[in-house]
Symmetry: C2
DNA sequence: GCGCCTTGTGCAACAAGTTGCATAAAGAAT
DNA sequence: ATTCTTTATGCAACTTGTTGCACAAGGCGC
């Protein structure tokens, strides 16, 4: 659905080979749309076939194991522009940890608090990483249109991490609170607390 | 990955048939882990085969088009309890709208503001729905362990919607601000603003 | 020259999720 | 009685995403 457009965007920002794209996905676009090199190569093939991109004519092209750079053609740019304005509903959340909290209601919370703490640490680390990028890339003023939009996206990432950190702290407190007394009856069944 | 556990949780809360599960997914568990009836039937088959659940012996079982209720067996309950404490990293965000904002940086923001406004309305509606559920199910005190955990999960949903609403408002303002002057050169290329 | 590591491209098989449709039973409508 | 709708289960085909591996070229050590 969205991967081809992510690739088109990356290629418009800078023509690249498959592996270069993979690396760039690992640090910037991949923060909100990750992809493995496999997906990227497959999609590059499709995009080339459909005429949205083309391989730059380099020294020698046809062999395997040789770098192959792509650039976006006008048709690809048009498709991307159309996608930007397309009507497409937001996808509902899909989060396994929330599911696990819910499951803990019926089978007990044993071991969950440690996992919540671990996630908390991971989200704090991610927040720190985002903040470092913000500092580095959007420190001073004088922002172009591209910069302002990129910063906006980054701020979504930052605020999302902040949300998770806040919520996980609440969750940890709640689990600790349930902990002591409830640990015993959680093992046999949760209904006893009522 | 998580779907079988979502189903086990739902079945422990109340033994059900495939279609009943589908309906329940549409209103409660599905808020953070959605599934179609197809996925659910397939997964029920696998879970039954692996001995995690079994069909309740009803009037007549074997025919098609006949309701078939399932309940969780001890093995299934144990698997679920193990999953609750399992180490599993949070998945990175995957959001098409953020991607579209980023794409707008290179192909122009035309048509995006309307889409942002539409999403804003959808998230406000979702928030209202969650708040109504909160009012209905967790209005007064006297909460059991299950209730407290369920409420915690619901609050994650509520705060996530609040996050999106806040961010989308910022985005809309930013797009409106870029709008007037930038609309012209966005069509030809974004670099002109620098 | 020969092994070895890195860079680079790609196939194949699988897992998860989506879409469209077929089938069957039971009850309501006429 | 027969048609229509609702409830219910399920197959088949497809798309997306993941994992493991194969293969090719070039640079480096010795």
């Amino acid at each position: 659905m969205s991967l081809p457009y992510a690739i088109l965007t990356a290629l418009l920002e800078k023509p690249s080979s498959g592996l270069e794209l993979t690396r760039r996905f690992d640090k910037s676009i991949g923060y909100f749309w990750s992809a493995t090199h496999q997906q990227i190569y497959r999609e590059l093939g499709k995009l080339e076939e459909s005429g949205a991109i083309r391989a730059l004519p380099g020294p020698r092209q046809p062999t395997r194991g040789q770098k192959k750079e792509y650039e976006v053609l006008p048709a690809g740019r048009d498709e991307l522009a159309a996608w930007v304005a397309r009507i497409e509903d937001p996808k509902p959340i899909r989060d396994a940890l929330l599911l696990r909290l819910r499951a803990a209601g019926v089978v007990g919370t044993e071991g969950l608090e440690a996992e919540v703490r671990r996630h908390l640490a991971l989200h704090r680390a991610q927040l720190a990483e985002y903040r470092a990028i913000e500092e580095r890339d959007f420190g001073e003023g004088g922002k172009s249109e591209v910069d302002r939009l990129r910063h906006l996206v980054l701020r979504a990432g930052i605020d999302l991490e902040r949300f998770w950190i806040g919520w996980l702290e609440t969750a940890r407190a709640e689990l600790a609170d349930l902990g002591a007394g409830a640990a015993a009856d959680a093992r046999t069944g949760p209904a006893a607390t009522a």
